[in-house]
Symmetry: D2
Subunit: 246 residues, 4 copies
Amino acid sequence: MSNAYAVIAGVGPGTGRSIATRFAKAYPVVLLARSGESYDSVVAEINNTGGQAIGIATDATDRSSLDAAFEKISKELFPGRYLAAAIYNVRPNGRPSLKPFLDLTLEELDSSLNGNIRGFFHFAQRVVPLLADAVKISNHPPTLIVTGATASTRGGARFGDIAAGKNGQRALTQTVAREFSPVGVHVAHIIIDGAIDIPGRENIYNHGPDSKISPDAIAESSWHLHTQPRSAFTHELDIRPYIGRF
Amino acid sequence: MSNAYAVIAGVGPGTGRSIATRFAKAYPVVLLARSGESYDSVVAEINNTGGQAIGIATDATDRSSLDAAFEKISKELFPGRYLAAAIYNVRPNGRPSLKPFLDLTLEELDSSLNGNIRGFFHFAQRVVPLLADAVKISNHPPTLIVTGATASTRGGARFGDIAAGKNGQRALTQTVAREFSPVGVHVAHIIIDGAIDIPGRENIYNHGPDSKISPDAIAESSWHLHTQPRSAFTHELDIRPYIGRF
Amino acid sequence: MSNAYAVIAGVGPGTGRSIATRFAKAYPVVLLARSGESYDSVVAEINNTGGQAIGIATDATDRSSLDAAFEKISKELFPGRYLAAAIYNVRPNGRPSLKPFLDLTLEELDSSLNGNIRGFFHFAQRVVPLLADAVKISNHPPTLIVTGATASTRGGARFGDIAAGKNGQRALTQTVAREFSPVGVHVAHIIIDGAIDIPGRENIYNHGPDSKISPDAIAESSWHLHTQPRSAFTHELDIRPYIGRF
Amino acid sequence: MSNAYAVIAGVGPGTGRSIATRFAKAYPVVLLARSGESYDSVVAEINNTGGQAIGIATDATDRSSLDAAFEKISKELFPGRYLAAAIYNVRPNGRPSLKPFLDLTLEELDSSLNGNIRGFFHFAQRVVPLLADAVKISNHPPTLIVTGATASTRGGARFGDIAAGKNGQRALTQTVAREFSPVGVHVAHIIIDGAIDIPGRENIYNHGPDSKISPDAIAESSWHLHTQPRSAFTHELDIRPYIGRF
């Protein structure tokens, strides 16, 4: 195993778990989530199957919490190792409201702005210098991946809060890509356009076999992005189930 | 003159002044800006040339300040009148930083999110019900116009803070359009893709005659949007000078 | 009336008629259509209401037919006059097939490519030099307008032939805009996103009052585009009814 | 090796060769190009390194030539086998003109329309039914991949002919995706945004190491698309070098 590690911010039972598991095949992984409840089982699963995983309870939208996590990583956990990949999969605290625009509260809007834009801002400012430092030594170009959604590309009825946050997040991702791609850091955005097949939620949005996106497939595409050489970076790809309007 | 009025939020010497002057040919206009310094001369100009204009010192990004302004409008200034058009042209407090991503501060990011997203959120929640109420009596479909920028459609190097705010604003505008167009409210977004020809700044970004966008032309296009019948709404148009890459 | 004229290619009872009528308020207009049947009543209407209109039976997708028409214009009809505006509103010969992809014939595809791309190619090569010649003398910047459709921006099920032609047409319009905007020629594309309210077809696609786009409104927006100064060109706008998904 | 095969239309020394070589690791591959000169060395290379490749001289833009090729495949070469993947990488005959719009000839425009739109139309009508037939037996969802370019998404100065053809091709690809994705056929479009690193052309567009796109990397991404399960189809991804404006 290489002298590298990966960080996944936003780990629950769905996409975060799958990405962590996939990247753990190549790197020790650090899992960030607000509470151990979210990542404990994933950490155990990875460690029990030959990988190496560590969870740190972190509010990725809070600078000092994030600083403490990276301090711990560089001083205690992985001194001397380089950061090969960082994934920002943080969901805003609380469920999407799906409220009509006039019923939206400022708190709901702020929750989206905080989780999607400010949180990514903090995270990217922390990891981009580490990724840039790793350009010359990393096996694959150091990679920052952001998981977006349908609402990342436009507004839609009842998606005001989400769309404002996700569109802003995507634009900020593009900014980071344009500034750091020339340095050799690969910054990519995934548009996840559909419901994700999360264990325990089988009956939600279920329109038949494979009608919900496999989080393992999102993880495979994330890994593929990471393996692209610097002459052939993909900056955005969409992922959606075979059925459903698009 | 009709039994209507228009509100322009964000009035300085450039686009806001031109839009206010243009709409004042048809409606009494209320001008909102953080301080009278910004709108005093525009108010005087309109009132001296046969129009009717009133300025209210308002922080359009602050709910209670905005509430007070609309309270004043409906109780004192124009009781019984309907709102025919509302324009959101607010610029975040302070100049765009144009800083490299790693140098951006949270304060700079927040300034953009506040002026572009939160401010528009408050403004739209205030005016949309008034516009909806006016659908059956307004001469032209009641209209909400948002002035965007190049950075409204993508991120760019050194545009992280601006792009996050403007992309989020555009997505929120699209949400409002999708929810209230079926009611008959016209919601439109203008992509202003270039420098604006603001009096007193002749030497900035000057690449020859007409190389900067005439704010009066933006105002004419805004007025054109307002006059479109409900069978033919334009939801977005771009405006840029004849020279310059696009 | 000015020393100018306008040309509208593709004139029937809908958009072409409305645009011709609108531009005839300012300029003598030349109407091109495959047969007089299409434009005779429009020519009569304009001439009977104080305007000046001439129809020329022309296949705008055929270079020699188009050459003959412009020869006639410059030699016989309007020697010495300049071309202020040209509108390409040609529809491919025959109705859209709306066929599933596997049922489409090459003839149907070619009909779309011919009317949408090759025809516009010929038309633009004819009019752009004339428009460029008029830059210094025209009251408004000389303008080339192309009427597109929903299918101009993406492919859709059963829209293979149309989408291929309209996307290609839009891309070619953008090319012409990028090459000739710096010269002062205004090239604009209108996305007509919905059914047009054409006299005699009241019962088709009718979802209530104003559910179909007023062709007169398209004409007003076309005229507005023409009046924009060169510091403030709009290159694309969408037009759609207030109801209907978008 | 499975009971399947793959077809690559448009095989020269660059992308086509790399894709053929990559897919040959899993399937016997059929290579189509106008003349054996284009594919002979690739066929030899694959057969010499443990794969199975057959070239058929075919004008993929000509229906009868294409019919003959598929007749040969199904009757002689691979009777009983299913088609797992088809790649359309055909370049129009002749080099892009890169001419100013007014200098473009109809022949140059037609060459682009023929290679990009009509050719893909024929190819897709041939392969889509075969791919649909393979849905239930194929290891990975049967896949149709189209290689696009920067000019697939917009027009640009001196790119009139190319942009018309590539935008039309992309729209037609989207149509096929929307019609056949629900059946389980994966249709994907790759935007190749930059010069490709083709052997023998090292000195063209060379801006330093890795400044041109590795065709092998395009092939890896194509293979990745093919391996995505039907719950997680990517319909479009961009590929560009780490340096260069985007």
